[in-house]
Amino acid sequence: MGLLSKKDAKLITDPFADNNPITIQVLGICSALAITAELKASLVMSISVLFVLGVGNVVISLMRNIIPSKIRIIVQLIVVATLVIIVDLVLKAFAYELSKTLGAFIGLIITNCIIMGRFEAFALGNGPWRSFLDGIGNALGYGVILIIVGFFRELLGAGTLFGIPVLGDPIEKTGLYAYGYENNGFMLLAPMALIVVGIIIWVQRSRNKALIEEH
């Protein structure tokens, strides 16, 4: 970390655990839950958010002194919408199948509260470099949760990772399936995403008592 001062490094490492955007700040839940049935989709979503949040934070931070505070929400929305259109078009060009799966959820990055939340809370009051680091840090914290949820849902639900079977072949009964293991198709359904995130929150808060809520 020779490049970054201690304070700057904290901007990146904090959102991983103690200030995680999903489990602590409760931002950006919608997409985290909706697209995590597959690891691949989770990964692409994380990268998209990383791009939008990193670049968006810098843009907003550069403009922070000229944005009139009354119309700042609209300005922020326009900046995000533009970046999201770029992401959407890139995905359509290079990963068409995936962009079909993600569908409306790429568009919903615009209203992903994580983005507006970081713009409001950080980029409007800090310089471009620190805002960039904050954006990257938060997007990574968001991505970590997405990938954990996607990992468990795809592994337990379909027995695959990135679409590659890892537990053997369920039809020919090889690998784990030879011992009577069955895929839990329920994990692929929407409600399990909520429960998996709930369990992640449980584990995290049991490890760090300071995060426990009063009620």
Binding site: L108, N183, I201
Partner: protein
Amino acid sequence: MEHVELFFKSIFIDNMVFATFLGMCSYLAVSKKVSTAVGLGAAVIFVLAVTVPLNWLLDQYILKEGALTWLGPEYAEYDLSFLSFIMFIATIATMVQLVEIIVEKFSPSLYNSLGIFLPLIAVNCAILGGSLFMQSREIATLGLALNYGIGSGIGWFLAIVAIAAIREKIRYSSVPPALRGLGITFIVTGLMAIGFMSFGGMLTGGDDAKKEEKKEVVISEPVKEEVKELQKEEDTKEIAENTKEIE
């Protein structure tokens, strides 16, 4: 019939919160008390009912491929759908602002109950999601779009009021400390979503009948085992596909 079907489908089967996870942020943040939940829910119904039809018109007459034909035949080739995100969100932001001003002017009492929630709603994913799903599901007429907007609004309203009521009660039970607050809310929402999945059968009665016919084809004993296995495979595949569709 089409209207009734879409209405119930958007409330129960494609429920915004439980099936597509839209508007989760405000759903989690503003669900501590029933009274505030009712206020926000009502505001969401209202804004969805305004913005979905409006964005439908926008999509139909400006953004879609060939939508500009009404300007003249030479415009038939234009496809502005890549602009839909920015147009939709701009419409929503302006509409919310406009609605706020109008409500403040004409009905101060309604403004007092809805007012503080309206700005919150501009960035609620449920609103933009409503418009985007309206676009991707290719809703055919303006009437259906209005219907869809109101229906999904009511679905969201139901969800937030239900979770708020549960959270008010849950305060008196002994939840493990680490699960208190956010954690338990997630898990309860998950359980509610499982409950709402049972509505999925409401409109698919026809499909089930077909499935049973398939099962009767089974011929002899030894083959039966294999067929069962295959059917299981098919079932899991079907479930996977269904979830994809839902998502």
